[in-house]
């Protein structure tokens, strides 16, 4: 995808720090030296084209009181599709990836309360007959990845 340099400037500038003010664009228009309508129009277009997946606040699910974990399973190749179907059927399973490893299925479980994580894991183990490795994060060394556009 070839991006216009103004689009790049907007993406690189706006990955964080969108102002929380009544007229948030004023400050940005000054900083970027681009008219407000043009910035808005470009963000709108990039969202439509899929260059941007979202514009707005990113919430931290755990701090809202929910439970979140990463789980992994060893699934025999001949059972892979069947197990995928069982795991994906849980609304609490947000993402699920096949990965190249003996532990070949990795999924994120997100629940309304932390206690529900174990319930979901237990159900998945019962329904698949496989062990679920529960790997909640113990510490986060966090730096928002800023993609150079």
């Amino acid at each position: 995808m070839i991006l216009h340099s103004i689009d790049r400037q907007i993406i690189n500038h706006l990955q964080g720090g969108f102002p929380l003010t009544e007229s948030p664009w004023d400050e940005l228009a000054r900083q970027l030296d681009i008219p407000i309508d043009e910035i808005i129009c470009r963000i709108e277009r990039m969202t439509t084209e899929g260059v941007l997946s979202r514009f707005g606040p990113i919430y931290n699910a755990e701090k809202m009181g929910g439970g979140l974990t990463l789980a992994a399973m060893k699934v025999e190749p001949e059972r892979f599709d069947e197990v995928t179907e069982i795991v994906n059927a849980f609304d609490e399973v947000a993402h699920n990836y096949a990965r190249q490893h003996e532990l070949n299925m990795w999924f994120v479980i997100a629940t309304e309360t932390p206690e529900k994580i174990n319930e979901v894991i237990h159900k998945i183990e019962q329904q698949t007959g496989l062990e679920v490795f529960n790997m909640p994060k113990q510490e986060e060394y966090f730096l928002e990845l800023k993609f150079e556009a």
Binding site: M1, L3, I10, I11, Q15, G16, G17, F18, L20, T21, E22, S23, I40, I43, E44, T47, E49, G50, V51, L52, S53, F55, G56, P57, I58, Y59, N60, K63, M64, G66, L68, L70, N88, V93, A94, H95, N96, Y97, A98, R99, E102, L103, M105, W106, F107, V108, F133, M135, P136, K137, Q138, E139, E140, Y141, F142, L143, E144, L145, F147, A149
Partner: protein, 169 residues
Amino acid sequence: MSASPQAMTERTEIDAIDRQIIAATQGGLPLSRHPYHDIAEQLGLDVQQVLQRMQLMLDKGIIRRIGVIPNHYKLGYKSNGMSVWNIPDEKISAAGMKVGSLDFVSHCYQRPRFLPAWPYNLFAMVHGKTHDEVIAQVEQIARLLGEDNRGHEILFSTRILKKTGLRIG
């Protein structure tokens, strides 16, 4: 920019009005001249109230940040690998900070080991434009960690089996 550990046990109270604001903004802000004003109007709240509550959520880390979220795939970062590392427990914090502050690493977490099947306790998601770039970046991490690295692997994803956003009600 520096990486900092964030305790995960910390939970913060949010009330019904906060939840309304979250529900109205988690899919994105309106692309209008006065987005917070529009949210306030939609919810029957005062704009100052919306701004104050969102500022408080930002201060408490309930909102991580506000801005654009690029689709990294469309920006050319087409490869990602989950690198996993076996780090002595007493070295994990220093190692995590080092790895977490690399610009090609996102989501750097300490997670529990499952011995003997799974000896790794540090996870770092590495993003690159190509598969080879990801491999080179993982080698760079290995050099950075030196003897504190007691073994590592890269788990490339072969297929997305499910992908939905995390949403609250």
